[in-house]
């Protein structure tokens, strides 16, 4: 240990010509500050014995200072003497802790001062003290210190280099003055609730109210952009506002799948399967607008789920087509959808198979054959069943990054007792005005399919 400090000081003070204060020494060698002070003193003494003037020191004098007239303190170069009236050209500097004396010394008040002096002024400074309670070396430097305030650099280095040390543990080692009553305050972390949910909730609030209005589309578009990356989990809390249903959407899709099973046989399995396949992004994205679109018909939640299942099949609107034409149209329609579907590749064979299935279904159900054309209802038996063409909005991000919302007719099965709701006009072209108009017209025109939704 003894060798360490000599070496350390020799390197830093003499070779590198740095300022070494007792604090830096204690931190560097991990010794108590008082020991560091002694080390500094020893080194200073030895070096100056070898070569006088090679090492220069600054001292810290603590004591009770004699009340003095301003003129006397002029000679002391400790810069904290701002109380002197004589040298007032530079403002008082807070570089040390000496309190200001009272100028009028009628009654000499004992002032306890801590004074930082260069060694050349040491004796002079000591003379200004009534009694000296402590004196120790503050720092060492080679050759002399021109500017006392450069000593501040030592402290800055300490703070910088040793910031990682916990002062509550290190104080014993270094001899820092410690208040025994000090306790560390633990940080109570309260991170703000995930911004996503709040944001989504806000976004959802808007589309909820006027879902059928064209404005809903823009909002959905904006909402879509936020949600397109977030799959179902995100949509769950956000949709919670709309209806309780959508929150269970992922499960709901499957559930609706089973419902679809009930109402229709094979044809529906494919769409459901596709849905689960493309669960992650596209469907969620697609189903979201559907949910919102359907949200307006508040009673139609279930069928909204149904609609979710049917998103993949978008038969083209046409009247009186033969089955083959319908199939061709369906194929074309489905090909359009490829941009949305993540797993479009696997979707296509599914779709083609589905087409045939559809054809198979449609065949025996001649009445159902009407459906692609008109979404009429079949088997009116107090309970309407059938496939219905629903306007679904799909918001898609095309290659330029623009969100394009398309109104596309999607088939979905429904089953209700009410008179059919208003007709939804199928319009594959993207349009924002048409849906509203179409829906109104549909309501007036065709059967009351849509009203079936209300009851569910």
């Amino acid at each position: 240990m003894a060798q360490d400090y000599t070496e350390y000081l020799a390197i830093n003070v003499l070779n590198e010509q740095q300022l070494v204060s007792y604090r830096s020494l204690s931190r560097a060698l991990k010794v108590h500050s008082n020991l560091a002070k002694q080390m500094l003193y020893e080194f200073h003494r030895k070096q100056n014995a070898k070569k006088p003037g090679s090492v220069h020191a600054t001292y810290l004098i603590t004591g009770i200072r004699r009340a003095q007239s301003p003129a006397h303190t002029n000679g002391v170069h400790s810069q904290e003497d701002g109380d002197d009236t004589v040298m007032q050209s530079s403002p008082p500097l807070p570089s040390s802790f000496a309190p200001h004396h009272e100028e009028e010394a009628e009654e000499p008040v004992a002032v306890r001062s801590v004074l930082l002096v260069k060694e050349e002024h040491l004796e002079q400074a000591k003379a200004t003290f009534d009694s000296v309670t402590g004196i120790h070396i503050n720092s060492l430097q080679a050759n002399g210190l021109s500017d006392v305030q450069s000593l501040t650099e030592c402290n800055r280095k300490i703070v910088e280099s040793y910031a990682s040390e916990d002062p509550l543990q290190a104080w014993k080692q270094y001899g820092t003055i410690q208040n025994p009553n000090v306790k560390r305050r633990t940080q109570r972390k309260g991170p703000p609730p995930p911004a996503r949910i709040a944001k989504d909730a806000d976004a959802k609030m808007k589309p909820l109210a006027p879902t059928t209005k064209p404005t809903a589309l823009e909002k959905q578009a904006s909402k879509e952009s936020k949600d397109s990356q977030e799959s179902k989990p995100a949509s769950k809390p956000s949709s919670a506002k709309a209806t309780p249903e959508p929150s269970k959407k992922p499960a709901a899709v499957n559930r609706q799948g089973s419902d679809i099973f009930k109402s229709f046989a094979k044809g529906k399995t494919k769409p459901k399967k596709e849905d689960s396949q493309s669960s992650a992004e596209a469907t969620a994205a697609a189903t979201e607008p559907e949910d919102e679109a359907m949200g307006g018909f508040s009673e139609e939640e279930d069928d909204a789920e149904d609609g979710a299942a049917d998103v993949d099949e978008v038969p083209k609107e046409s009247e009186g087509k033969s089955k083959k034409e319908r199939e061709a149209d369906l194929q074309a329609m489905m090909d359009q959808e490829d941009e949305i579907m993540e797993d479009a590749a696997e979707a296509i064979p599914d779709k083609t198979a589905e087409e045939q299935d559809e054809g198979a279904i449609d065949k025996p159900d001649s009445q159902q054959a009407e459906e692609p054309a008109k979404d009429t209802v079949t088997m009116e038996n107090g309970r309407r069943r059938g496939r219905r063409r629903v306007m679904k909005k799909k918001t898609v991000k095309d290659e330029d990054g623009y969100l394009v919302t398309k109104e596309e007719a999607a088939w979905e099965s429904f089953s209700e007792d009410e008179p059919p709701p208003k007709k939804i006009e199928a319009a594959p072209a993207a349009s924002t005005n048409k849906p509203a108009a179409g829906k109104k017209a549909a309501k007036a025109g065709q059967g009351n399919i849509m009203s079936f939704f209300s009851k569910k």
């Binding site: 050209s89 500097l93 002399g144 021109s146 450069s150 501040t152 650099e153």
Partner: protein, 221 residues
Amino acid sequence: MASEATTLRNIVAAFTDFLTVAIHTILYERAIYPQTSFLSARKYNFAVRQNRHPKVCGWINDAVSAVEMELLKGTVERVAIVIFTKDNKPAERFMLDVSRFPTATLADLDTPLERKSANGDNISILPKVDMEEQFRATLSRLANCGSTLRPLPEGSTFTVAIELKGVGQAPIAHPQPWMPVEPTKQDDIDGRVQKRAVPVRAVAAGEMMLECWIEEAAVSD
């Protein structure tokens, strides 16, 4: 403040800031002006001295802007702060070697600079923290140089000089901020006149590469 796009202008601006502070520090250290006329300031998180007299500050600012103009042209090799004695003899020179600054044509002064390492990563052109640290160290060394140098005689004065790289680039156009000076004749006739060079520091932070040293004319009296 340049964030990613450091241009030559930014580099030169950073250097001129440093130069201003360095000049003030040297003036304080060598007591060219009374030390009481300096107030404490902070630069690069370091306590420095700054002169308070408006004319002094004004002169220094003008000199530094003239240096900046030359730096932007890319003609400067070294910047010197020369301390003269009363008899107009240079006693000391504080040299800053800036020959390794990047140079650019007038059109490219505001072009962002980029340097890639061997494996294609972008090396920072002007790493601010690094640079500040090194400037701090240089100023700290400069500040303490007062102790190593011989005390100056009374009435010394100072000036700022630049040494140019090539021949045909002297800024003697009108208005003329610079006075052309003959190369210093320190070590010609006598031979006994020696110069002592004291290295101060070298700064190498990104593209900011400069060296600083002090040349002292041996006083042969």
